[in-house]
């Protein structure tokens, strides 16, 4: 009965079993996944630009100064451990090659605001050499270590989510003991057109990815109270069906491991199959509750490149200083994947680009337009897409065709959100679950009126956030004012109470003597007053002295 109902809902298109998606007719992946990976190493004199903050969280603290010589893998900035609460969202930064720190300055970074941020500028000496303390000690026997120690290593290696979210990986692996994680998902879907860096990584480094997954499983296991541990853990590697070579190489690497916990699962090719929530739904049928995290459902999700980085950090002691980047698009002379040290300028990867080209960091659905080729490759950079710049078609009014809603993977009504955002009716937009929008761009992709829908959602979200901040600030100010006011009142009250008490005390203790004294004083005052009117005030003060 329930089955029939679900089937009916699915048939009607009520999002219950299937959420929307798009299937672009050409994924443009063959453009870059046919060539072997090129390994780029900085030559002497190359300038590497290393933004201090390449992750979501707080800035690390600098360890170096201009003029310092650094070895490859040396820590340039450390996670601030003085303030442990803040420290949790911070990862260190390492030198991606050996050379000299020339300056520490603000440089353009890949950010929608186009603003500059603090960067360490490292001039390579071309030796690309590890120093004595360049590599961390290898922890090949990691199964004997506890999870806290391994998480510390993952943080020390500067590892963040390499799928693009750049969230510190160690934090994701720290699980609430009340809600143990039973499913680890390794995301190899790579659903966005053009991008192939995960595809070739899975082909070339399948064994390292699987080893990374095993380390993560160990971390999740070790967190448990051994007595209470009755959950069976599994790891699902989700790969889109359009990557047969990656799938077979993962399966080939899996066979000799003989680890029943690991399984490669093929998911249908559609965008955004690799969205965290979408992949979780495809692999487990579970939905992450709105505002919650996958861990609430006993799931955590890491990208394949993150898994590999974890393997290298734990077993080889290597920090995260390079990554695979896809160079692709009609404007790239030599498309393909490159293994790049972080900090190399995008322009240096591409060589000559056509003058009218548009530089995009990321894919064609969610990528960010770069305003300059001087912007460096960072931990979040999975792809550089160069296509001829084309004018956007003029937008027509929404014709309510509902195409957007049909393709929205979050099950939203994008046309309504657009309407509310345009009318600045943010409360309604929020009620229509604006913050469940993952900005995947499916709606704008299909919209026949060519409305830049996602721009409106970004605008509305930013407005709501700034309103919230302003409100919080105002609230804070109000509280402070109230507190200040109350403190003044209290001080006043206490003083009057104290005065009253003193008065009482003085009166009750020696009322007789005092009375005489007052009488005498009064008499004196009278006499004085008679003598000299001007001294009246002073004499009054004298009178009061005994009582005060």
């Amino acid at each position: 009965m329930i089955k029939a109902w679900q089937w009916l809902q699915q048939l009607i298109g009520e999002h219950s079993a299937s959420f929307g998606s798009i299937i672009p007719p050409n994924d443009h992946k063959a453009l870059s996944n046919q060539q072997p990976v090129r390994r780029l190493r900085p030559s002497a004199g190359d300038e590497l630009i290393l933004p201090l903050q390449q992750h979501r969280g707080d800035k690390p603290k600098l360890n170096v100064r201009p003029g310092d010589y650094v070895y490859k893998g040396q820590m340039l900035a450390h996670a601030d451990t003085a303030n442990s609460a803040k420290n949790t969202r911070c990862v260190p930064l390492h030198a991606s090659t050996s050379g000299t720190i020339t300056t520490i300055a603000d440089r353009p970074i890949a950010h929608p605001s186009g603003l500059n941020d603090t960067c360490v500028i490292l001039q390579a000496d071309g030796l690309d050499q590890y120093g004595a303390d360049g590599l961390m000690p290898a922890l090949a026997n990691y199964t004997e270590l506890d999870s806290a120690c391994l998480r510390q290593r993952i943080r020390d290696a500067g590892i963040v989510g390499l799928g693009g979210a750049v969230f510190p990986a160690a934090i994701k692996l720290a699980v609430n003991p009340q809600r143990p994680v039973d499913t680890l998902i390794i995301n190899g879907a790579e659903c966005e057109p053009y991008i192939t860096c995960d595809d070739v990584l899975m082909r070339d480094k399948a064994a390292e990815i699987l080893a990374g997954a095993q380390i993560m499983l160990h971390i999740l296991q070790a967190d448990d109270d051994p007595a209470a541990d009755s959950i069976t853990r599994r790891c699902l590697l989700g790969v889109e069906a359009n990557k047969p070579q990656a799938i077979s190489s993962l399966r080939a690497a899996l066979a000799p491991l003989d680890d029943p916990r690991l399984e490669v699962v093929v998911v249908p090719t559609q965008y955004p199959a690799g969205g965290e929530k979408q992949l979780i739904h495809a692999l487990t049928g579970k939905e992450v509750p709105t505002g919650g995290r996958p861990a609430d459902k006993g799931i955590i999700c890491h990208n394949v490149a993150t898994a590999r980085a974890i393997y290298r950090a734990v077993v080889l002691g290597e920090p995260l200083i390079s990554r695979y980047v896809t160079l692709t698009g009609a404007g790239v002379a030599q498309p393909g994947n490159v293994d790049v040290p972080l900090g190399l300028r995008v322009g240096a990867l591409l060589g000559a680009t056509p003058p009218d080209a548009q530089l995009i960091m990321g894919g064609p659905m969610m990528g960010l337009t770069l305003h300059s080729a001087q912007i460096p490759v960072v931990k979040a950079t999975n792809c550089i897409l160069v296509n001829p710049l084309s004018a956007k078609p003029a937008a027509l009014p929404c014709i309510r065709c509902g195409q957007c809603a049909q393709h929205c993977p979050a099950g939203l009504l994008p046309q309504q959100l657009y309407w509310y955002a345009q009318a600045r009716d943010f409360a309604k937009a929020e009620r229509h679950a604006l913050f469940d929008c993952i900005e995947c761009g499916c709606c704008a992709y299909v919209c026949p009126s060519h409305i830049p829908l996602v721009d409106y959602y970004r605008f509305a979200k930013a407005e709501i956030q700034s309103q919230r901040t302003a409100k919080a600030k105002a609230e804070h100010a109000r509280k402070r004012h109230d507190f200040h006011q109350e403190r003044l009142e209290r001080a006043q009250r206490e003083r009057t109470e104290r005065l009253a008490k003193h008065k009482q005390k003085a009166q009750s203790h020696n009322s007789g003597q005092q009375q005489d004294a007052i009488q005498a004083a009064l008499a004196r005052a009278k006499a004085k007053k008679a003598q000299q009117q001007l001294q009246a005030k002073a004499s009054t003060r004298n009178d009061q002295e005994p009582t005060a």
């Binding site: 219950s16 064609p364 078609p393 509902g402 970004r458």
Partner: protein
Amino acid sequence: MNVTPPTAPYLRQANQSVDGLMRQVIYALLPGTLVMLWYFGWGIVTNLVMGIGFALLLEASMLRLRAKALSLFLQDYSVVVTAWLLALALPAFAPWWLLLIAMVFAVVIAKHLYGGLGQNPFNPAMVGYAAVLVSFPLEMTRWVAPLDLSFMHISLSESLQAVGATLNQTRWDAITLATPLDTVKTALFSGHTLPLSEAQHLLSAAGLSTEMINLAFLAGGLWLWYRRVISWHIPLALLLALTLSAAVFWLWDAQHYPSPLFHLLSGGTMLTAFFIATDPVSASTTPVGKLLYAAGIGLFTYLIRTWGAYPDAFAFAVIIMNMAVPLLDAYTRPRVYGH
């Protein structure tokens, strides 16, 4: 190049545009239009040419008045589709002033006074149709008898004469004919049983022509569905609701109530189901909302056809359900992921 800094997504679905959609609707209208040409000849040509001409003029002047980009909006073809549908819905050989009045109601009142493309709560073509139907019931119910290869029987000059006729001029009454729907209704009202048997109905000259026309629109509509310009929700729910309500009464009393098949293939059933009710602007947008919206149209059509004062009922049924759309949309919001 002067372009605003582009933002994600940079990729757009190829050939996905309002004018592309509208053009496909026009292609899908061609089979039905051709069959109508076969039966009504110049009467359809004059309807289409004058109707679309008027509509374009009105659209252009409204755009000018509202200071909108003429080229951008005239190219979206939406007004052509509106005019085309309305021209086909009006009786063939409709006089010019009838067409003009209908187009004024459709384009000026129903569309632009509500804010233009995408803003109209009511289906413009149906507003135009309903307006002239209540104002000029006589002109609206007189259909020229369908003739095979009509071009050969009624010449262009004769047609132009008819089209140029003023309100009180008589127009070739000799060859006008009540539509099958009309015949049935007259019989029902006068308490008679159906004048012709079911089979006779389906095979009579008038019967055959409407069936052919409906089948041709069905074919065009299925192509639209195949091209994913429309979803299946609205046509299916509409036809199902009409069939079911017709079936109930037909099974109860076949002497007085025609069969579901008759209803499916009479009047503007297929044109409405696939082309008019599916107008995205004035229809519900959620899946369940669409089903309810279309079922409502089917039901109201049956009720008005059977007991209302007008021969065909789609215009009123569509307008009634247009009014329910905001409510339907609000109560049938699909579930959001994770809620």
